[in-house]
Amino acid sequence: MSVQTLDRVVIRFAGDSGDGMQLTGDRFTADAAVFGNDISTLPNFPAEIRAPQGTLPGVSSFQLHFANYDIMTPGDSPDVLVAMNPAALKANISDVPRGGLVIADSNEFTKRNLAKVGYETNPLEDDSLDAYQVYALDLSGMAIAAVKEFGLTRKDATRSKNMFTLGLLCWMYDRETAGTEKFLTEKFADKPVIRDANLAAFRAGYAFGETTEAFANQFHVGKAPAAPGRYRQITGNRALAFGLLTGAYKAGLPMFFGAYPITPASDVLHELSKHKRFDVTTFQAEDEIAAIGAALGASFAGHLGVTSSSGPGVALKSETMGLAIMTELPLVICDIQRAGPSTGMPTKTEQSDLLQALYGRHGEAPLPVIAAQTPADCFDAALEAVRWAITYRTPVMLLSDGYIANGAEPWRLPDVSEIAPIDPEFATETNGTDAKDNATFLPYKRDPETLARPWAKPGTAGLEHRLGGLAKADGSGSISYDPENHDRMVRLRQAKVDRIVREVPDVVVDDPDGADVLVLGWGSTYGPITAAVRRVRAAGGRIAQTHVRHLNPPPANLGEVLQSYRRVIVPEMNLGQFAMVLRAKYLVDVESYSRVRGLPISLSELADDLLDIVQN
């Protein structure tokens, strides 16, 4: 048996919702990451509700791409498909290119299970999979045998099949087993029987690979070059939670996080609720309006208010965002986008809340918008959102989406000590005089530099003041119906947001060959676009690429950049929302490349299309 070296592999684990595929994928990913591969993952949950066992809608999958170089996406098509039942095979086989590897649990290919998904004969036995390398193995049977001695129920015993499978794959891809063993030991620390059974199944799987002659080869994917540093693997939602937490920490503020559960944003709530140690309070509200309301109240009280949701919940928050804009208090609103409109496809991804983020409020109600572009980048984006919110006393909208929220990649750990602190600069003294020339506090007297207003915490004697949603007089913040004052205040609020461009670095264009076509994206299309651009270049196409992270205010040089290309292509998972904004702002005929499938844009399709474009 030999070890064959590969640059990259895409494995897709697929099974029934109850088969533990997410866990299997996670573990394999962790091992690959710790080993030093670059990784990118794509979990794919069934629709929110549980479908009956063994049916197509019940299939859950997890795709992992690992490589010895810097990769950008979880891959379009898997090299290896692990199918734990007929439904998993049927749902996924069409994505596997001919010649791909299929490992199937033959034990589950019973008449009944086959019938459930409409297979008339067993595909493992007829010739329908001839184009693939198929390994039909009795995975569950072997797992059950491996755990026999522990006296588990049949159900529990069968459950260990995922660990058996993981063991087998660890062997196939030449992985260390220590990480998973440690993981299992810790996870089941207080259920020793389950722990030992899982360990046994895992080891049995590994041993099966090693001893059986079923497999011709082991494969090895080397370490990816990576900037020196300490790394971990991280999902977008966790990184986002960490970014918020770190921001509050660097500002020396307790965080108040108000949320109402919603897919795919709930994990931000779940993550933060674990970190009370860091002075984070999570409030599970009765609805999204209460969630943002309480967060705004906490900001008024001098804490960092944060709220997070997905499209339908963010829609409900719009009225309160208007109040946050009027009261000019720090607030971070996270929108983890999913496929819409309405309930749409809650477990699928999309970028279609951009216009809601920019314009979804009544009146002139501007706020800054930042979009994260990869799972790890959610950390930086969230940290920046906190910084802007506090510095400029403004609600900030942070956009992520289901793809990066649930996907994972290696993250080079920052050193918290090196992150610039955020100064909330609470007001402590009066800053003006009233009509009678007494010293007074003017809550709307702005910092001439940032246009931010002072933030005075309740409890500070002498700075008592009232905020509210009514039009307010410049400076004093008293109710004002003066027409000129209103016009001025509307423009001041806009100017404050526009001025944040000071914080926005110019976009950098990656254009090694002096191309005349530019592809421009924002948010989670970063991975697919970058990968597609590589392919185009590899195929000899000249193409420039840039990615916008600050959607409002956009970078100062953006217009210039757009004008300097013959064609600008903007791939988005919506009907061209950012393209519209760019056209309006810069009067450049940017072309929207729109795919609204609830999936990340296909890198191969995009690469082909871009190649077509640059070659014309």
Binding site: G179, T246, E286, P458
Partner: protein, 366 residues
């Protein structure tokens, strides 16, 4: 860099009232004038809001707390203008959301005395959900619900407390909506403190507000408030000298519930579990129900709430229906956080550790 929450550890002396037990006391006593802002008060002449404002401005100094630690949050409505007239921290927020916003304030800051000012439309129509959830959680807030049984600010549409048949601009043929009984609703929503008072009875109003502020958890105070412009006869029976004695049923802790000019009426239990009005002379004072707001079972309080008919008010108990102890949401959640933070706040190393988690690897210099 270390993280601190200075506001939560104020060294000043704090109030001894449960509801305010982490709120610092004023160093020099405050007066009503200290609580008066420089904004001109703008309600219609004769509006009941004036009296409530005055009473509230009178109660705050009595509580002894530092003025800068008082926060008044309102929604939208005539009544919700009140924060502008209070020289405290305050927010005139958006329609119906004051309880939610105040929940954030109260949860963040135990050292603040948080008041919510709201109307029958604001609290019971658009804001009904936040109100009931606040009460079930028992967030430490004092809610002043100005019930004029009409939408005043939008010029007089019927509200969720208007009587059936009310003719307004939006109900020219008479409204068909059965009203809420705010006290019943609060009791059904697990409220720990529910009271009712009247704008025109300054003494009662002040007493009830004081008790409400001193209660820990959510205190809901329904205040009958006259709107002479759009609903001038909503409370005539209760306010008319001749009829008031027979209409207002004062609830006094530990006392038999009697009323009438000569206290000739008493409340007794019915055979079917409710309460009814009887002549004291007929039933004997010893058989009159003795009021106990502290009864852990809210049933009798609920029964008393049903004495109020929802139409043209003919009769209504005032006073504290229920006042029981139950841990406050904000105390509990703060306790979890405070316990987790402990006495030594997180430092860089701890944050670094958190970010790193347990599975890390190192890429060396290439």
């Amino acid at each position: 860099m270390t993280q601190t929450s200075p506001d939560q550890n104020s060294p000043a002396q704090t109030s001894s009232a449960k509801g305010l037990n982490r709120v610092p006391l004023a160093v020099t006593p405050t007066t009503r004038k200290d609580y008066t802002s420089d904004q001109e008060v703008r309600w219609c002449p004769g509006c009941g809001d004036y009296a409530i404002l005055a009473a509230f401005q009178g109660v705050l100094p009595e509580l002894g707390i530092a003025r800068e630690n008082a926060v008044v949050i309102s929604g939208i409505g005539c009544s919700s203008r009140l924060p502008y007239y209070m020289d405290t921290y305050g927010m005139h927020s958006i329609h119906g959301r004051a309880p939610a916003i105040a929940t954030g304030v109260a949860t963040a800051r135990p050292d603040l005395a948080v008041f919510v000012i709201t109307g029958d439309g604001d609290a019971l129509s658009i804001g009904g959900n936040h109100l009931i959830h606040t009460m079930r959680r028992n967030v430490n807030l004092t809610i002043l619900l100005f019930n004029n049984r009409i939408y005043g600010l939008t010029k007089g549409q019927y509200s969720p407390t208007s009587e059936v048949g009310k003719v307004t601009k939006s109900s020219p043929a008479g409204s068909v909506d059965a009203p809420f009984n705010p006290v019943s609703l609060a009791l059904g929503a697990e409220a720990t403190f529910v009271a009712r008072t009247v704008d025109s009875n300054r003494k009662h109003l002040s007493e009830v507000l004081t008790a409400a502020a001193e209660h820990r958890g959510t205190s809901l105070v329904e205040i009958y408030q006259n709107c002479p412009i759009f609903n001038d006869d909503a409370f005539t029976v209760l306010k008319d000298r001749d009829s008031a004695a027979d209409a207002i049923v004062p609830l006094v802790q530990g006392e038999p519930i009697v009323f009438g000019a000569e206290n000739q009426w008493g409340i007794v239990r019915t055979a079917t579990g409710g309460v009814e009005v009887k002549e004291v002379a007929e039933v004997g004072l010893e058989n009159v129900l003795v009021h106990d707001a502290h009864d852990p079972d809210p049933t009798t309080a609920f029964a008393l709430s049903r004495l109020t008919d929802a139409g043209v008010l003919q009769r209504s108990p005032i006073g504290i229906f229920r006042s029981v102890e139950r841990p406050a949401y904000d105390d509990l959640i703060r306790e979890q956080v405070e316990t987790a933070v402990g006495s030594d706040p997180a430092d860089d190393a701890m944050v670094n550790d958190l970010l790193a988690g347990s599975d890390t690897w190192v890429a060396a210099e290439a």
